[in-house]
Symmetry: C2
Subunit: 209 residues, 2 copies
Amino acid sequence: MRKENISDAVIRRLPRYYRQLTDLCARGVVRISSHSLGQEMNITASQIRQDFSCFGEFGQQGYGYNVEELRSEIGHILGVDNDHHLVMIGVGNLGRALLQNFKFSQAGFTVDAAFDVSPSIIGSVVNGVPVYSMHVLDGYIRKNSVDVVVLTIPQSVAQDTADRLIELGVHGFWNFTNIELSSADPDVKFENIHFADSLLTLSYRIANR
Amino acid sequence: MRKENISDAVIRRLPRYYRQLTDLCARGVVRISSHSLGQEMNITASQIRQDFSCFGEFGQQGYGYNVEELRSEIGHILGVDNDHHLVMIGVGNLGRALLQNFKFSQAGFTVDAAFDVSPSIIGSVVNGVPVYSMHVLDGYIRKNSVDVVVLTIPQSVAQDTADRLIELGVHGFWNFTNIELSSADPDVKFENIHFADSLLTLSYRIANR
DNA sequence: TAGATTGTTAATCGATTAACAATC
DNA sequence: TAGATTGTTAATCGATTAACAATC
């Protein structure tokens, strides 16, 4: 039975499934049961079957799941075959680190351009991605289809920049600024990487172990 | 009534409270009720009071909470005044970005040293942090008290490096490798920053908006 | 066929929300 | 004092787990 309203918890588990299945593929595993997948991931078999059943019927009674097929299905659900287009705003250390190391294409993203205010970097090319001036950002967004913007800019300009981009029709933000961005439009999606929150959580855990 | 077993959901909200309260302090707000704090954070007043009550009684009937006091209490719970000591392993683009931009001290961490395999960077100092050879890592860990290790190294060596460090007594890992690290010892804590999982979640959301 | 394992329904558990007496 | 707001207990809601008929 396919659900219409998928809970946040389920969605957050999908990338983990995808990662695990990619690993199983690489290890040459052909089929797997919910039970053994659960053992590897520290999840109950029940939960795995419940999660998958939100999206369809991917298994076979008495057999389990074909690893490659299931990986492809979950990849499809996540949209890895959608060829999303992405631009980066702010090419400081973090932005550059992402451009040089992160495998955007594995998640189905193409990085088309980056933008910065610094004259010393404008005009350069980082790992194949051209860096333009922030002054041409508006025009670029208007002319090109941009699904997601990566915000690797200082906190101080984060919300203003986001507002400006939302105005221009951007509806996906990968936010590294450690600020809670928001929009009145529920169709605008923010995914936040809060480094500080993460480290504080660890701090709590080691103190209360 | 203080609980002994705090749920993961509560713990993950603590850094958000801390962030919001820091912001309120900066804005000069002196007192706040659970109701108005909830409005600002999109959380019910009930949940806020429940969350805080896990750790003590920080408010006053008819008044609410003193912002500065509450911030300090939550900071204390999170351990920001514990002066944790941290070393970084792997000083590539991402490691350097963190060393140069992330405010470790605001989370109560001191970065004492970094380690890398590259001769071109060993011996240098990045934002005040000396970079040593991986060959001297074991000796360093043995001689110094290290609470948390930041793993900004390639996936391929992640689990092996973690195992080696756990052996040496490290029990906190801030893991940027997009691999699910694990340990048999439940007192060893991992906090993972899974960039790819985060971007895939965003991919799903913009596709199903 | 017999054994295994699915997808789904029902039961349980835990987390969120509502309600309210206590009290500043 | 009266109004406001807490901390906590009770009610509700949702997510996880267990059970099982269906079937490969």
